[in-house]
């Protein structure tokens, strides 16, 4: 990333001449318009340099999901830029702030990066293109309508004269941006839909990418941190004198009533000293809580009278009472940690009433606000250097580590302080995927048609913990993701009742890649498989009958089944399972092929995933997200769990929080069936179908239903 990433438009324009000339082009955004500044140019999405280098500004954060490349494709397509010249750079949050948030929302989560900014970034590209054409037309004294643009060149069609964007940029920048531009129709797209390579790969192969943990600054010190192991507990006492003489140690800093840090020259010294620091914790009222108690709390919720309503059609009770055949099952999932491979880290420098931070964050604006709050300064006194994230998955939407770094830095004026969490700290102080149980009940008529379906969730609410103001009359809408009216795939079932008994624990919870579709799709898709089995029907045929009112979802499921060869013979010992889901604005389905040895060893041979995300910006990126989401999803279904004893997390590292590795990786085939007309999410939707497809295949192979997840020590053996 170039240094210009930190420059705002005004700053850029004032320095552009010295830098050899350049063009900053923008578009006023809906937010800006709402602030009665309609038509004013407040934003910039593209910068063109004399050598044709085209820098696209990116407001969202790159954490592996490819948004940096995808967003650049959107702008560059409308700009008719030659992709070879395109680079990307982050917009600095303080520049966004100073320009009335002209670049819009910086938060990166919920698979929204592209789908919620697609309109304004494309318009930004289109405005730029129009200005370049106008500049060329003026130079040639011809009507702009006689000019066309392609591959970073404007051509005067009648005479064949050509000017490169780099030659036009300086003049174009002086023009008034048009207020109305037309973006291309899908038929006109040249870059959207192409599987171009990522823009951020080269530095990730050479070790040059500077993640936040890699920041090196003059005079920098490092901090290691410890928080009370029991959530809600407090720091009682510590004895800093015991580590005073240890190598490199500067200071012990108490951050708040439950957090302490050691600052040293090097992080390894800080960590070593922290381990030697005598600390006494007041573990508080949660010190006796364990997973068995939490399980019992949730189990009681399954039977509770009161619950928040999520989805309802028809009259479940009446239909179920008269059902000829009934099926019931209870499923459960445990807490999950994000376990980003780069642990939480942030560098902060407090200097003369100003705070500067270096961070990998899923929300640059929120990091800025958190730093200001922690430092006790105005927003304008904060500068944020955004770095690529070493994994996010929802964890880096929280700003706890930013506040901590700033709080420590205030104790070390003038010196940059790099805070790094140890893996153990990261494992034990997360915002976990909520623990959830679900009882599902179905009633069928004599012919095996499902007449009634009920799902009762019991478990923790993310919004109740993180954003109670977003609860709607006691309902956490996030808990029903995948089951909301516009998402639920089985609307042909006449009587449906879905509700949620909110059962909160003392364990912090948060957004986690694909939450809550992970749990919900697993519950529903495994259960529908159970119902199909009880009805004596093929799982695919059975689902088709329930999805007649959901044609897009049905088409995606059929695409997965067809590619997988559903119904065709398999090698001996290999069995299939299927699952489908709708979430984050996209339709998904998967078929898994597995075998289970007599000893119970599972092997996943092949997985086919179909996805309809409306328009596909980059098919290669979508395939990567499918493959990656399957690994993340299957890790939680097969291996990992966070459990609680004595009020604290029992897992500490990757030895007891097992995740999927290469040896377990099945062959993943992605089938894209984009139906157009909408922009759906990509990073998360497909995660939901991986687990249930595999679990249903395990049932086909063994006759065993795995309902308490993760699979872990469940015995699949037949000997």
């Amino acid at each position: 990333m170039s240094q210009t990433m930190q420059l705002g438009r005004r700053f850029f324009l004032t320095t552009a001449a010295a830098a050899g000339g350049g063009l900053s082009l923008g578009w006023s955004l809906p937010e800006a318009a709402a602030q009665s500044t309609a038509g004013a140019e407040l934003s910039i999405w593209a910068v063109i340099q004399p050598d044709d280098t085209t820098i696209v500004r990116i407001a969202r954060s790159e954490m592996g999901q490819g948004t940096l490349t995808g967003l650049a494709q959107l702008v560059a397509d409308e700009l008719d830029a030659d992709w070879r010249f395109v680079k990307a750079e982050y917009v600095a949050p303080e520049v966004n702030l100073a320009n009335k948030r002209a670049w819009g929302d910086m938060s990166t989560g919920g698979s929204r990066g592209i789908r919620t900014s697609v309109e304004y970034v494309r318009k930004g590209g289109a405005v730029a293109r129009a200005m370049l054409i106008e500049a060329a037309a003026a130079k040639w004294s011809v009507p702009a309508t006689e000019c066309s643009a392609a591959l970073s060149v404007v051509t005067h069609t009648p005479t064949g004269r050509r000017l490169r964007y780099g030659e036009l940029a300086a003049e174009a920048a002086k023009l008034t941006p048009p207020t109305e531009v037309k973006v291309k129709t899908p038929a006109e797209w040249k870059l959207i839909g192409r599987g171009v390579k990522r823009l951020d790969t080269a530095d990730k192969l050479s070790g040059k990418t500077v993640y936040a943990i890699d920041v090196q600054l003059p005079n920098m010190v490092n901090a290691a941190i410890a928080q009370c192991p029991v959530f809600g507990g407090k720091l009682k006492s510590f004895d800093a004198t015991k580590i005073a003489g240890m190598p490199g140690v500067h200071k012990v800093v108490q951050l708040d009533d439950s957090t302490i840090a050691v600052v040293a020259d090097k992080w390894y010294q800080a960590k070593t000293a922290l381990a030697a620091l005598p600390v006494v914790w007041d573990e508080g009222p949660n010190a006796s809580v364990d997973s068995a108690q939490i399980d019992a709390l949730l189990k009681a919720g399954l039977d509770a009278k009161e619950a928040a309503l999520g989805n309802k059609q028809g009259d479940f009770d009446a239909a179920f009472a008269s059902a000829a055949k009934k099926v019931e099952a209870v499923y459960g999932t445990q807490f999950q940690n994000h376990a980003t491979l780069e642990p939480m880290t942030c560098t902060a420098k407090w200097d003369d009433g100003k705070i500067e931070i270096w961070v990998g964050s899923q929300n640059g604006d929120a990091s800025l606000a958190a730093a200001a709050e922690a430092a006790g300064v105005k927003l304008e006194a904060v500068k944020v250097h955004k770095h690529h994230l070493g994994g996010g998955f929802g964890r880096r939407g929280q700003q706890d580590y930013v506040r901590q770094a700033v709080t420590i830095a205030k104790q070390m004026p003038g010196r940059p302080v790099k805070l790094i969490w140890s893996r153990e700290e990261d494992m034990q102080h997360g915002f976990y995927r909520p623990i959830t149980q679900c009882r599902l009940t179905a009633g069928m008529d004599a012919q095996g048609n499902v007449t009634a379906l009920r799902a009762r969730l019991s478990g923790q609410s993310i919004l109740a913990y993180l954003a109670p103001q977003r609860m709607v009359n006691g309902v956490d809408p996030v808990a029903f993701q995948g089951w909301n009216k516009e998402e639920f795939g089985y609307t042909a079932i006449p009587n449906v009742l879905i509700d949620h008994a909110v059962r909160n624990t003392h364990v912090p919870v948060g957004f986690w890649r694909g939450v809550n579709t992970n749990q919900n799709a697993l519950f529903m898709e495994c259960f529908i498989d159970e119902v199909a089995h009880a009805a004596g029907k093929d799982p695919l045929e059975f689902r088709r009958a329930l999805m007649t009112k959901n044609p897009k979802q049905l088409a995606v499921m059929n695409a997965a089944a067809e590619k997988a060869g559903w119904g065709m013979p398999l090698p001996k010992g290999v069995f299939r399972g299927i699952a489908q889901n709708t979430g984050f604005g996209s339709f998904t389905a998967a078929v898994a092929e597995v075998s289970v040895s007599p000893k119970g060893e599972l092997k996943i041979h092949r997985m086919v995933c179909a996805s309809d995300c409306g328009y596909v910006v980059n098919p290669e990126q979508v395939a990567m997200q499918v493959e990656g989401s399957f690994v993340y999803g299957l890790s939680s279904v097969l291996f990992s769990k966070i459990t609680i004893d004595k009020g604290r997390v029992m897992q500490g590292n990757f030895d007891d929080y097992q995740v999927m590795r290469l040896v377990e990786m099945p062959k993943v085939e992605t089938v894209l069936v984009p139906s157009g007309g909408f922009w759906g999410g990509v990073g998360e939707p497909t995660i939901a179908v991986a687990g249930p497809a595999v679990l249903n295949a395990i049932f086909a192979a063994t006759g065993k239903r795995i309902r308490a997840l993760p699979l872990g020590s469940n015995d699949l053996g037949s000997t």
Binding site: Q216, L389, G390, N653
Partner: protein, 159 residues
Amino acid sequence: MLKLNINGKALDIDADPTTPLLWVLREWVGLTGTKYGCGIAQCGACTVHVDGVATRSCSLPAGSVGAAKITTIEGLSPDGLSHPVQVAWAQHDVPQCGYCQSGQIMAAAALLKEKPRPTETDVAETITNICRCGTYQRIKAAIDTAAALTAASPASGKV
């Protein structure tokens, strides 16, 4: 005072010999391409070569390395892109967040040095590094490509 040979350079480093090599590389030498992920040799993000052998540097006291030659991701190829593994990785666009990739690349490069045409089992047994983004499928494909590139141009595979 530690004496280490890192990426072909003999260095005197003022670090306690019990300090893990990972932190000596990152904090004393300033080579941050090698990553911290777990500190207990589980995840492989810290993989470097010690005399050509893939080694998890987070659990190796720097003082135990002696005169052995240490190669980090920064020293794998002169331009950071031309080792067959890096070429193959670029071809398959392997990295997502990229944080584990230094370690994955170093592990793959060492494997190919020992077994120029690794079987699927060799790869599965040797590449045990964790990738939370889930790039394993592309890592497997890229190792196959790198093996083919090395076979086609044996000299380029030498580190």
